[in-house]
Symmetry: C2
Subunit: 127 residues, 2 copies
Amino acid sequence: MSKVKGSKAERELQKIFWQNGWACLRTAGSGSSSHPAPDLLAGNKIRRLAVECKATKSISKYLTKEEIGQLIEFAQVFGAEPWVAIRFDRDNWYFISPEDLKETNNNYLASLEIAKNKGLLFEEVIN
Amino acid sequence: MSKVKGSKAERELQKIFWQNGWACLRTAGSGSSSHPAPDLLAGNKIRRLAVECKATKSISKYLTKEEIGQLIEFAQVFGAEPWVAIRFDRDNWYFISPEDLKETNNNYLASLEIAKNKGLLFEEVIN
Protein backbone atom coordinates (compact mmCIF):
# COMPACT_ATOMS: atom_id res chain seq x y z
CA MET A 1 0.00 0.00 0.00
CA SER A 2 1.38 3.42 -0.91
CA LYS A 3 1.89 6.12 1.69
CA VAL A 4 -0.90 8.16 0.14
CA LYS A 5 -3.39 5.28 0.30
CA GLY A 6 -2.24 4.57 3.85
CA SER A 7 -2.93 8.15 4.89
CA LYS A 8 -6.34 8.02 3.24
CA ALA A 9 -7.29 4.93 5.24
CA GLU A 10 -6.01 6.56 8.44
CA ARG A 11 -8.04 9.71 7.81
CA GLU A 12 -11.13 7.66 7.08
CA LEU A 13 -10.87 5.78 10.36
CA GLN A 14 -9.94 8.95 12.27
CA LYS A 15 -13.16 10.56 11.02
CA ILE A 16 -15.26 7.59 12.18
CA PHE A 17 -13.80 7.87 15.71
CA TRP A 18 -14.68 11.58 15.89
CA GLN A 19 -18.20 10.90 14.55
CA ASN A 20 -18.65 8.47 17.44
CA GLY A 21 -17.53 10.86 20.15
CA TRP A 22 -13.91 9.73 20.44
CA ALA A 23 -10.88 11.96 19.93
CA CYS A 24 -8.41 10.54 17.42
CA LEU A 25 -5.14 11.82 16.03
CA ARG A 26 -2.82 10.66 13.28
CA THR A 27 0.85 10.29 14.11
CA ALA A 28 3.55 12.22 12.25
CA GLY A 29 6.30 9.98 10.92
CA SER A 30 4.76 6.71 12.08
CA GLY A 31 7.02 3.91 10.89
CA SER A 32 9.96 6.25 10.35
CA SER A 33 10.19 7.95 13.72
CA SER A 34 13.01 7.13 16.09
CA HIS A 35 10.37 6.45 18.73
CA PRO A 36 7.69 3.76 18.58
CA ALA A 37 4.35 5.10 17.40
CA PRO A 38 1.02 3.73 16.20
CA ASP A 39 -0.66 5.16 13.08
CA LEU A 40 -3.59 6.43 15.13
CA LEU A 41 -4.27 7.07 18.78
CA ALA A 42 -7.92 7.29 19.80
CA GLY A 43 -9.29 8.02 23.24
CA ASN A 44 -12.21 9.04 25.34
CA LYS A 45 -12.33 9.73 29.06
CA ILE A 46 -12.16 6.00 29.84
CA ARG A 47 -10.06 4.16 27.21
CA ARG A 48 -7.16 4.73 24.82
CA LEU A 49 -6.67 2.70 21.64
CA ALA A 50 -3.31 2.59 19.83
CA VAL A 51 -4.12 1.57 16.28
CA GLU A 52 -2.02 0.29 13.39
CA CYS A 53 -4.18 0.95 10.36
CA LYS A 54 -4.25 -1.01 7.09
CA ALA A 55 -6.44 -1.16 4.02
CA THR A 56 -5.96 -3.76 1.32
CA LYS A 57 -7.66 -4.96 -1.86
CA SER A 58 -6.49 -8.47 -1.03
CA ILE A 59 -7.90 -10.89 1.57
CA SER A 60 -4.72 -10.89 3.61
CA LYS A 61 -2.11 -8.44 4.74
CA TYR A 62 1.35 -8.93 6.19
CA LEU A 63 2.60 -6.67 8.95
CA THR A 64 6.26 -6.57 9.89
CA LYS A 65 7.45 -7.75 13.27
CA GLU A 66 8.83 -4.25 13.80
CA GLU A 67 5.43 -2.65 13.19
CA ILE A 68 3.73 -4.92 15.68
CA GLY A 69 6.58 -4.68 18.18
CA GLN A 70 6.42 -0.88 18.08
CA LEU A 71 2.64 -0.92 18.42
CA ILE A 72 2.84 -3.07 21.54
CA GLU A 73 5.73 -1.10 23.04
CA PHE A 74 3.97 2.23 22.53
CA ALA A 75 0.73 0.89 23.97
CA GLN A 76 2.48 -0.46 27.08
CA VAL A 77 4.30 2.78 27.88
CA PHE A 78 1.37 5.08 27.05
CA GLY A 79 -1.23 2.96 28.78
CA ALA A 80 -3.31 2.12 25.71
CA GLU A 81 -4.81 -1.00 24.13
CA PRO A 82 -2.94 -2.18 21.01
CA TRP A 83 -5.12 -2.92 17.96
CA VAL A 84 -4.62 -3.63 14.28
CA ALA A 85 -7.46 -2.05 12.28
CA ILE A 86 -7.83 -3.51 8.83
CA ARG A 87 -10.30 -3.03 6.05
CA PHE A 88 -10.36 -5.60 3.27
CA ASP A 89 -11.72 -4.61 -0.11
CA ARG A 90 -15.25 -3.24 0.18
CA ASP A 91 -15.68 -4.74 3.63
CA ASN A 92 -15.98 -3.30 7.13
CA TRP A 93 -13.17 -2.19 9.38
CA TYR A 94 -12.09 -5.03 11.66
CA PHE A 95 -10.07 -4.58 14.83
CA ILE A 96 -7.74 -7.49 15.54
CA SER A 97 -5.76 -7.95 18.73
CA PRO A 98 -2.01 -8.41 17.95
CA GLU A 99 -2.09 -11.77 19.74
CA ASP A 100 -4.68 -13.04 17.22
CA LEU A 101 -2.43 -12.34 14.22
CA LYS A 102 -0.78 -15.39 12.67
CA GLU A 103 2.97 -15.35 13.21
CA THR A 104 5.06 -16.39 10.20
CA ASN A 105 8.84 -16.54 9.88
CA ASN A 106 9.38 -12.84 9.39
CA ASN A 107 5.98 -11.27 9.65
CA TYR A 108 2.52 -11.33 11.11
CA LEU A 109 -0.42 -12.17 8.89
CA ALA A 110 -3.83 -10.52 9.17
CA SER A 111 -6.36 -12.36 7.02
CA LEU A 112 -10.02 -11.81 6.33
CA GLU A 113 -10.64 -15.19 7.96
CA ILE A 114 -8.92 -14.14 11.19
CA ALA A 115 -10.78 -10.83 11.07
CA LYS A 116 -14.18 -12.49 10.73
CA ASN A 117 -13.43 -15.15 13.37
CA LYS A 118 -11.62 -13.12 15.99
CA GLY A 119 -11.82 -9.45 15.04
CA LEU A 120 -14.21 -6.86 16.38
CA LEU A 121 -16.25 -4.43 14.30
CA PHE A 122 -15.89 -0.71 15.01
CA GLU A 123 -19.12 -0.58 17.03
CA GLU A 124 -17.83 -3.49 19.13
CA VAL A 125 -14.35 -2.15 19.81
CA ILE A 126 -15.61 1.18 21.08
CA ASN A 127 -18.16 -0.36 23.46
CA MET B 1 8.26 30.33 13.76
CA SER B 2 8.63 28.29 10.60
CA LYS B 3 7.13 24.83 10.25
CA VAL B 4 10.62 23.31 10.21
CA LYS B 5 11.65 25.05 13.43
CA GLY B 6 8.31 24.08 14.95
CA SER B 7 8.90 20.42 14.13
CA LYS B 8 12.40 20.61 15.58
CA ALA B 9 11.07 21.94 18.89
CA GLU B 10 8.39 19.23 18.91
CA ARG B 11 10.95 16.49 18.30
CA GLU B 12 13.16 17.86 21.04
CA LEU B 13 10.38 17.80 23.60
CA GLN B 14 9.16 14.40 22.37
CA LYS B 15 12.62 12.98 23.02
CA ILE B 16 12.68 14.37 26.57
CA PHE B 17 9.36 12.67 27.34
CA TRP B 18 10.69 9.29 26.13
CA GLN B 19 13.91 9.76 28.10
CA ASN B 20 11.78 10.18 31.21
CA GLY B 21 9.70 7.07 30.69
CA TRP B 22 6.70 8.66 29.01
CA ALA B 23 5.39 7.76 25.57
CA CYS B 24 4.99 10.77 23.30
CA LEU B 25 3.87 11.16 19.71
CA ARG B 26 3.80 14.05 17.29
CA THR B 27 0.55 14.75 15.47
CA ALA B 28 0.31 14.72 11.68
CA GLY B 29 -1.26 17.85 10.28
CA SER B 30 -1.68 19.62 13.60
CA GLY B 31 -3.12 23.05 12.89
CA SER B 32 -4.33 22.06 9.43
CA SER B 33 -6.35 18.95 10.23
CA SER B 34 -10.12 19.07 10.05
CA HIS B 35 -10.15 17.66 13.60
CA PRO B 36 -8.73 19.38 16.69
CA ALA B 37 -5.28 18.13 17.59
CA PRO B 38 -2.41 19.15 19.88
CA ASP B 39 1.18 19.20 18.58
CA LEU B 40 2.17 16.43 20.99
CA LEU B 41 0.36 13.86 23.06
CA ALA B 42 2.31 12.35 25.93
CA GLY B 43 1.16 9.68 28.31
CA ASN B 44 2.05 7.08 30.87
CA LYS B 45 -0.19 4.58 32.59
CA ILE B 46 -1.66 7.30 34.81
CA ARG B 47 -1.81 10.63 32.97
CA ARG B 48 -2.16 12.06 29.45
CA LEU B 49 -0.83 15.48 28.44
CA ALA B 50 -2.05 17.25 25.29
CA VAL B 51 0.70 19.75 24.46
CA GLU B 52 0.83 22.77 22.17
CA CYS B 53 4.54 23.28 21.62
CA LYS B 54 6.33 26.58 20.93
CA ALA B 55 9.91 27.79 20.81
CA THR B 56 10.80 31.44 20.39
CA LYS B 57 13.86 33.68 20.45
CA SER B 58 11.70 36.42 21.91
CA ILE B 59 10.44 36.78 25.49
CA SER B 60 6.82 36.44 24.46
CA LYS B 61 4.74 34.42 22.05
CA TYR B 62 1.21 34.85 20.77
CA LEU B 63 -1.02 31.85 20.26
CA THR B 64 -4.22 32.09 18.27
CA LYS B 65 -7.58 31.60 19.91
CA GLU B 66 -8.14 28.74 17.47
CA GLU B 67 -4.96 26.95 18.60
CA ILE B 68 -5.93 27.19 22.24
CA GLY B 69 -9.56 26.33 21.54
CA GLN B 70 -8.53 23.20 19.64
CA LEU B 71 -6.09 22.21 22.37
CA ILE B 72 -8.79 22.44 25.03
CA GLU B 73 -11.40 20.68 22.88
CA PHE B 74 -9.09 17.78 22.07
CA ALA B 75 -8.05 17.43 25.70
CA GLN B 76 -11.65 17.34 26.89
CA VAL B 77 -12.77 14.66 24.45
CA PHE B 78 -9.62 12.52 24.78
CA GLY B 79 -9.40 12.80 28.53
CA ALA B 80 -6.04 14.61 28.70
CA GLU B 81 -4.65 17.68 30.45
CA PRO B 82 -4.14 20.69 28.14
CA TRP B 83 -0.73 22.39 28.33
CA VAL B 84 1.22 24.97 26.38
CA ALA B 85 4.92 24.05 26.39
CA ILE B 86 7.18 26.95 25.54
CA ARG B 87 10.89 27.45 25.44
CA PHE B 88 12.21 30.99 25.33
CA ASP B 89 15.65 31.60 23.93
CA ARG B 90 18.28 29.50 25.70
CA ASP B 91 15.94 28.86 28.62
CA ASN B 92 14.13 25.79 29.96
CA TRP B 93 10.87 24.38 28.72
CA TYR B 94 7.97 25.79 30.69
CA PHE B 95 4.51 24.25 30.80
CA ILE B 96 1.74 26.81 31.13
CA SER B 97 -1.91 26.00 31.75
CA PRO B 98 -4.13 27.61 29.08
CA GLU B 99 -6.02 29.46 31.82
CA ASP B 100 -2.79 31.23 32.85
CA LEU B 101 -2.22 32.70 29.38
CA LYS B 102 -3.04 36.37 29.01
CA GLU B 103 -6.05 36.93 26.79
CA THR B 104 -5.76 39.80 24.32
CA ASN B 105 -8.25 40.95 21.69
CA ASN B 106 -7.51 38.25 19.16
CA ASN B 107 -4.91 36.04 20.77
CA TYR B 108 -3.44 34.56 23.88
CA LEU B 109 -0.06 35.75 25.09
CA ALA B 110 2.54 33.46 26.66
CA SER B 111 5.37 35.54 28.14
CA LEU B 112 8.56 34.61 29.94
CA GLU B 113 7.14 36.44 32.96
CA ILE B 114 4.00 34.29 33.00
CA ALA B 115 6.14 31.19 32.47
CA LYS B 116 8.39 31.98 35.42
CA ASN B 117 5.52 32.98 37.70
CA LYS B 118 2.92 30.37 36.85
CA GLY B 119 4.52 27.77 34.60
CA LEU B 120 5.92 24.40 35.58
CA LEU B 121 9.29 22.99 34.57
CA PHE B 122 9.39 19.64 32.79
CA GLU B 123 10.34 17.78 35.96
CA GLU B 124 7.40 19.40 37.73
CA VAL B 125 4.77 18.73 35.09
CA ILE B 126 5.55 15.02 34.88
CA ASN B 127 5.43 14.50 38.64
